[in-house]
Amino acid sequence: MFRISSLIAGASLLALTATSAFADKNDDTLRIGWGGDGVMINADNYLGGTRTGIWFTKMVWDTLIERDNATGEYKGSLATAWQWVDDKTLELKLREGVSFHNGAEFGADDVVFTYNTMSAENSGARFRAIVDWIDHVEKVDAMTVRIHTKEPFPQALEFLSGPMPIYPHKYYAQVGSVGMSNKPVGTGPYKVVEMKPGEQYTLVRNDDYDWGSPKSKAKITNVIIREIPDAQTQVAELMSGGIDVTADMSPDLVTRLAGVPGLEAKMSETLRIFIIGLDAAKRANNPAVNDVRVRQALNYAIDRDGIVKNLMAGAARTLSTPCHPLQFGCSEEAAVKYPYDPEKAKALLAEAGFADGLDLTMYAEAPAKEAEAIMGNLAAVGVRVSLNRVPYEAYRDAQISGKAPAFLFNWGSYSLADASASISFFFKGGEDDFAQDKDVIEWLKTGDSVTDPAKRKEVYASAIGRITKEAYWIPLFSGVRGYAWDADLDFTPYADEIPRFYEYSWK
C-alpha cells in the first residue's frame, strides 16, 4: 500500500513540474511542429534545399521582390524598382534604411555577394536551376545593382521573389554556410534567438521591421519550431497543447482531427502536381508507350474526379495540363482534354493492336492509395500494370536509367508560379525530357527567353497543346497538404506550400 501511494505522489509531482513546459497562448508564443519530410538540414537553404528551409527562410530573410499571394503582382521588398536595361540585364534600385539583425546596413554589396557566391560553379547550391540563370551581378552604386543573366530570362522576377534570400555579405563571408545555419542573420520579420540544429529553433519578432516590406510585421512575439518527424507524435503534441500548428497531416488524420474540439484541420491545395510520365523517347524500349494512341488511351482510362473526391477529400483539382493552372502561362484552354472514358480507351488500345490488353511496368513514388486506384482504372480497360512502388531514390534511379516505361511522380515547381518551372524542366530537351519533341523544345526556348508576357503565354500554350495532344504525360491532379492548428490561431494555408508564420495571430 505504501508503495502504491508513493508512486502516485511521485507521479503527481511529475505532473506539476511537467505542465510548465506545455504551450500557453498567454505567453504569446507560437509553437510549430514540423519535420514530417525530414529535418531542415541547413538554415542556409541555398545549400539545404528542404521544404521547411523555405518556410524558415521566409521568416528570417527577405528577397528583393515579393509576390502578392492574392493578386500575383510583384511588389518591391529589398528592391524598390527594377527595369530591364536590355534582354539580359535587369537593373534594380535597392531600399534604403534596412538593417540586418546584426545591425549591418543592407546595400548593393549584399546582393552582389549573395548571388555571385551562390551562382558560382562550385557553390554547393542544391538546386542548380534556382541560381543557374545568373551570369553575374554587378554593383552600380551603393543602392543599385545589375543582374546579368546568361540568356534572356523573363522568369527572373518570379525567381527573385522565390527561394533567393539576401544574406549580409560580411557576416556570411566570415562564418560561411555552417556559421549562417548555426546563427542565421537576415533582415526578415523574425530574428533568431537560438538554433539547436535538427532539434529546435527559437525566434523572436524583429521589432525594427517597419521599413515598408510587403510582408507584414510579425504579429506573434515568439516562435518556437520543433523538429518532430512522426505525424502521430505531432498529433499528440497538438492535442496536448505542446505545439500550435503542423503541416504534415495526411488526409485521414485531417478528417479525424477536424472533429476534435479546440482544433482546426484542413486539406489545402498546393502548386504540386501529380503526373504519370510516359517514355515516348524510347529509352525504356517499350513499343506500346511509343504509340500515341496507347498514351491517349491511358489518359482516357483514369477517373481523376473519382480519385480526388474519394481519396483526397475533394481538396485537390483534376489536371489537364502538364503544369499547375495557377502558374503563369499554364493555360487550361490550350490543353487537349481526356475526360474519363473507358470505352474510348479500349477502342484506342484495340486500334493500336492491343485489343487483348497490354502489360505495363510502372514505377511510382506516390501514395499507395492513389497508385492503386489508378491501377484499378487501367486494369478495367485491359492494361495490366505491374506496379513498383518504391522510395524516391529507387524510383528516380529506374527512371533515369531507362527502366521505367511509365512513372507516377509529383513535382513541386520549387513553389514558383511560372509554367516554365514545370514544362521547361521536363520538355526542353536534356535528360529529364522523355518526349524529346523538337517543336516543343523550340517553343519553350522562346517562352523562356522573350520578355513580352503575351508572347510567352502564346508559345507556352502551343507547347501545352502539343504535349497534351501527343499525350506525353498523363496529368492527374494537384497535390494537397494537410494542416492542423489550435483553434485560437488565425491560420491560412497558401497554395505555394509556404505558411506565412509572421502573418498569423491569435484570435
Binding site: A15, G38, I41, K196, G198, R226, A394
Partner: protein
C-alpha cells in the same frame, strides 16, 4: 590472460571492419547515393553533378579504402548534408542515445531482478505467473506500439509527461519505459531461471540446513550466482538498445544517434552512416568484452581458468 584479451581484441577489430565494409557497400546496393543526396525535385543534371563531386562513379572498394584511411586517423569527414564535422555531430547526439540506453537498462533491471527472484522463490505462484505474463507481453508488444500507448496515457489523458523532445529529464521518462520494456523479458527470464537453479543447488541446501533465513539465502547466495549471466545479458541488451533506439527516437523526437542514423540512411549521408555504424559496433564489442571481465571479477572460477 593477456593473450586472451589480445585474441578477443583482434576478433573485435575484425568484426568492426567487416560491419563497416558491409554498410558501405550496402549504401551503393540500395541505388545511386547521388540521387538521395541531390534530394527530391533535383534534376538529372543536379544528380550527375553530385555524382561527380563525390566521386561515386569510382569503384566502391576504392571509395571505401579512402574512407577507411581517413577514419583510422580519426577523421570521419563532413556530413554531405549538414556540412558539419561528423565527429561534432556525434559528440552532441551520443549522450542522448547513451543516456537513454543506460536509463532503459536500469529501468529493466529494477523490475526484472526483484520480480525474477520473487518469482523463483515460489515457482508457479501468483508472482511467478505475473512475471511470466509480463515477460510474454513485453516480448510480444512492438516498442512503437507501447510508445504510442504511453503517449496516449501519460501525455494526453493524464497530461503528466511532455510528449516529445529532450528539453528536460521528464522528456526521457516515456522513452525509457518503452525502451526498457524491450530489454525486460530477457533479463527477467535469466534472473528467474538462474535463481531457480541456485535454489536447487547443494550449497543453498547447506545454507538452509545451517539455519539461514529465506531472505538471506535468496539474496546472499542465490542472487550472487545469477549476477554472472545477468551482467552478460545486460551488456548485450545495452548494445541492442543503442542500436534499437531508432524507432523510439523517431516517435519521441529525440535527437540522438538513432534519429540521426535514420535520417542519414534515407539521405545517403555516407560519412554519418559509416561513423554511427562504427561507433555502435565498437560499443557492442566493448560491452561484451567488459561483461567478460566483470564476470571474471564476480566469479573466482572464471578468474582462475585464465
Amino acid at each position: 590472460m593477456t593473450s586472451f584479451i589480445i585474441k578477443r581484441l583482434a576478433s573485435a577489430v575484425l568484426t568492426i571492419l567487416v560491419v563497416s565494409a558491409l554498410t558501405f557497400s550496402l549504401a551503393f546496393l540500395a541505388g545511386d547515393p547521388a540521387i538521395a543526396i541531390a534530394g527530391k525535385d533535383s534534376s538529372a543534371a543536379d544528380i550527375a553533378r553530385v555524382r561527380e563531386y563525390y566521386g561515386f562513379d569510382r569503384p566502391v572498394v576504392i571509395q571505401y579504402g579512402e574512407w577507411l584511411a581517413k577514419a583510422l586517423t580519426g577523421d570521419f569527414g563532413r556530413s554531405f548534408h549538414y556540412q558539419q564535422s561528423v565527429a561534432d555531430m556525434l559528440a552532441s547526439r551520443l549522450p542522448i542515445t547513451f543516456g537513454l540506453g543506460v536509463a532503459a537498462i536500469i529501468f529493466a533491471l529494477a523490475i526484472a531482478v526483484p520480480l525474477g527472484v520473487a518469482a523463483a522463490a515460489k515457482p508457479g505462484g501468483l508472482i511467478d505467473r505475473f512475471a511470466l505474463g509480463l515477460s510474454v507481453l513485453g516480448q510480444a508488444m512492438p516498442t512503437f506500439w507501447l510508445a504510442l500507448l504511453l503517449v496516449v496515457l501519460f501525455g494526453l489523458t493524464l497530461r503528466w509527461l511532455p510528449i516529445s523532445g529532450n528539453a528536460t529529464w521528464q522528456h526521457f521518462v516515456m522513452p525509457t519505459i518503452a525502451l526498457g520494456t524491450f530489454a525486460l523479458p530477457a533479463l527477467l527470464r535469466i534472473t528467474r531461471a538462474g535463481t531457480l537453479d541456485a535454489l536447487r543447488s547443494d550449497y543453498v541446501r547447506t545454507a538452509r540446513a545451517k539455519g539461514l533465513g529465506a531472505g538471506k539465502v535468496l539474496f546472499r547466495h542465490a542472487l550472487r550466482n545469477v549476477m554472472i549471466p545477468l551482467v552478460s545479458i545486460s551488456a548485450v541488451q545495452l548494445g541492442a538498445l543503442l542500436a534499437g533506439s531508432i524507432v523510439i527516437e523517431q516517435i519521441f523526437a529525440l535527437q540522438g544517434i538513432g534519429a540521426l542514423s535514420y535520417d542519414a540512411t534515407l539521405r545517403a549521408d555516407l560519412p554519418v552512416v559509416q561513423a554511427i555504424t562504427l561507433i555502435v559496433a565498437v560499443f557492442y564489442v566493448l560491452l561484451t568484452l567488459v561483461a567478460d571481465i566483470v564476470n571474471a571479477i564476480l566469479d573466482p572460477r572464471i578468474r582462475e581458468s585464465w
